[in-house]
């Protein structure tokens, strides 16, 4: 009996429209980024897609809330309330198929949206972490919570103005804290909202405590909404506060224990994958494994060019900006920002050799002001490569003139002094503690 009603609800209730809205708006949001070639903020990797989909909940979540409230008013809208209240079936049995239909449609919508994004992601990366699955599951759960909460509040306040007011309230709750959070320090309380404050990159993932806390919180919200729908008498509606408050009490300590903003470094993605043949070892991060073969040749040529330095390095390692220094003298560190998922290394062949040689095989190291001395890095790279200007992107304007002057000054020195200066640049780079982002 329930199954047959559920089938009818799936076909006839506004749940179908709510799910369809999630898919249409979401897919439009994803692919509107293609107009300005910004799809790489979601299509590079699975975790990035899952997090971006959560950011899109800024629109989908309030609309699900409004759709739920709209659905809850159906009986009153069609003037069926009195008729239905004479039937000898308990209230919870009547609303169960409706709320199940809402949950099913919203979940299918969220999964279809994920699938639409997955088409591009699957073509861009072979790295398949499992960490994105909880992020997506919590997102789907939050959407169900929005739908059920909307239905519950719609029953609590069965006014014709409830759906629009609730949808706008959802937008306000989600958008206004985000705006505040961008300037001041981000409080983890804002993670009670289903969306994150910014997109992630391939080396970060959502902390486990955040997933757990959000799952508990949204489960509490969903159960609270369901309770509002199912209790027979209005005076029992206060019961709905119990799961919500319980979820809140469990979630807040969990969210507070997580790093600020909810993201943490993805150690698996940053772990190394190395060449196995007899040549010098070249390693890339796990998530950039596709780029290993393209890097191996240029990296080994860079190692031969670096051999003229005293205490020369013998291996090349791609590292992220967050990897703590100091860098071992036997290694060349190559910043992972030189790789773009789905595109490969920023350059190839000779240009890639020059990139590896930048700063004599060290990461860009910001000083106290956060500035990186790219000029010295480029000059050292050209000196090691033995050609100025070295292959690769050229500086322009004043910077080009300054580089020319610096190059002339270096070449005017005696040969052993030149070697000493280049070695000093490498020593300085080796001592660098950790860096932000920045290529070259």
């Amino acid at each position: 009996m329930i199954a047959r009603i559920l089938r009818t609800e799936l076909r006839r209730s506004s749940a179908l429209a709510a799910g369809g809205l999630v898919v249409v708006l979401g897919v439009a949001g994803l692919y509107s980024m293609a107009m300005t070639d910004q799809t790489d903020i979601w299509d590079t990797e699975w975790t990035v897609l899952a997090v971006f989909q959560r950011i899109m909940l800024a629109v989908l979540w309030p609309l699900a809330l409004g759709a739920g409230a709209w659905q809850a008013r159906r009986d009153r809208r069609t003037r069926m309330e009195e008729l239905l209240s004479t039937t000898p079936r308990p209230a919870w049995r009547r609303v169960l198929p409706t709320s199940a239909a809402m949950a099913i449609c919203l979940t299918i919508g969220y999964v279809a949206l994920l699938a639409a994004g997955a088409i591009r992601v699957a073509g861009n990366t072979d790295y398949r972490p499992a960490g994105w699955i909880p992020i997506a599951l919590v997102g789907a759960l939050s959407l169900i919570a929005a739908g059920w909460l909307g239905m519950g509040i719609g029953r609590l306040v069965p006014s014709t103005y409830t759906p629009p007011v609730l949808a706008v309230a959802g937008f306000l709750v989600l958008l206004v804290p985000v705006q505040v959070g961008k300037d001041g320090p981000i409080s983890n309380i804002s993670l009670l909202a289903p969306l994150f404050s910014g997109p992630s990159d391939e080396f970060t993932t959502v902390a486990g405590a955040v997933n757990a806390g959000q799952a508990v919180w949204f489960a509490g919200l969903a159960l609270g909404g369901l309770a509002l729908l199912m209790v027979a008498r209005r005076r029992w509606m206060a019961v709905a506060a119990v799961p919500v408050v319980a979820g809140l009490l469990i979630a807040v300590p969990l969210l507070d224990s997580a790093p600020e903003g909810g993201f943490q470094a993805d150690l698996v993605a940053a772990s190394e994958v190395c060449t196995a043949d007899s040549g010098p070892v070249v390693c890339v991060t796990k998530v950039h494994e596709d780029g290993l073969s393209a890097l191996t040749g240029p990296a080994r040529r860079a190692l031969t060019l670096l051999a003229k330095l005293p205490d020369a390095p013998t291996s090349v390692h791609e590292v992220t900006g967050s990897r703590p220094g100091p860098q071992p003298a036997a290694e060349v560190w190559f910043h992972s920002d030189n790789y773009r998922l789905g595109h490969g290394w920023e350059s190839s062949g000779d240009e890639l050799v020059v990139r590896v040689l930048a700063g004599a095989g060290t990461r860009p190291c910001p000083d106290q002001n956060g500035d990186v001395d790219y000029r010295t890095r480029a000059i050292v790279s050209a000196w090691l490569y033995g050609q100025y200007p070295a292959p690769g992107p050229k500086a322009t304007g004043e910077e080009a003139a300054a580089r020319d002057a610096a190059w002339q000054a270096l070449r005017a020195l005696p040969a052993d002094e030149q070697l000493r200066r280049v070695t000093a640049v490498r020593q300085e780079g080796l001592a660098c503690a950790s860096t932000g982002s920045g290529a070259r």
Binding site: M35, P163, A167, L172, L175
Partner: protein
């Protein structure tokens, strides 16, 4: 006078007006402490959408089929109602928001037209959907909108001197007004709302 009173009552305007004005004024009070002036528009825009969404329910009467049989000139009355709706909400928000008046007036005109258009297409019960959804999507989309199409889609969030946004607002305002004034609210068969 008697006609106006009865007309407004048949559209639940007294209650809706109170809800719309109070909520719009309250929401427009919210200020976000953002350095980006565009982000300061968010709560004001949502206030406009909320006020118009609530008043949008009054764009149709309880029995549209019955009303159609009345031998009165519907066009000016409907047009006046949409205009009054836009003026009232814009006025309330203007008093309580710090956003430039040009943005508020432009967006109120565009969103009022959109509300009327939605009422014509989907009926009075769903008249709130498009204005609320479009406003919400625009506030989220605006910070990343670089392409001309995306800037046009997030027209309510654009600066007061943005020509495309003004054209879209005018188009929606006039188009919605004329279409609604000519056709009226969609007849909702079988579901006569409360």
């Amino acid at each position: 006078m008697r006609f106006v009173t009865l007309y407004l009552r048949s559209r639940q305007v007294p209650a809706a007006l109170a809800i719309a004005l109070v909520s719009a004024v309250l929401v427009a009070q919210l200020r976000s402490e953002s350095a980006d002036p565009q982000q300061g528009f968010v709560s004001t825009l949502l206030a406009l959408a909320l006020g118009l969404a609530v008043l949008g329910y009054g764009l149709g009467g309880p029995d549209a089929e019955l009303e159609r049989t009345a031998a009165i000139a519907w066009f000016p009355r409907r047009a006046a109602q949409v205009l009054a709706m836009a003026v009232v909400v814009a006025g309330g928000v203007l008093l309580s928001s710090a956003v430039p008046a040009g943005v508020i007036l432009r967006d109120a005109a565009g969103l009022a037209g959109l509300t009327a258009l939605t009422a014509t297409l989907l009926g009075r019960q769903l008249a709130w959907t498009l204005p609320v959804a479009w406003t919400g999507a625009a506030t989220v989309l605006a910070p990343v909108a670089d392409a001309p199409v995306l800037r046009a889609l997030s027209w309510p969030m654009q600066a007061p001197d943005d020509l495309t946004a003004s054209i879209i607002a005018c188009g929606l305002g006039v188009g919605g007004l004329v279409l609604y004034a000519a056709l009226g609210c969609r007849v909702e068969r079988g579901r006569q709302g409360s």
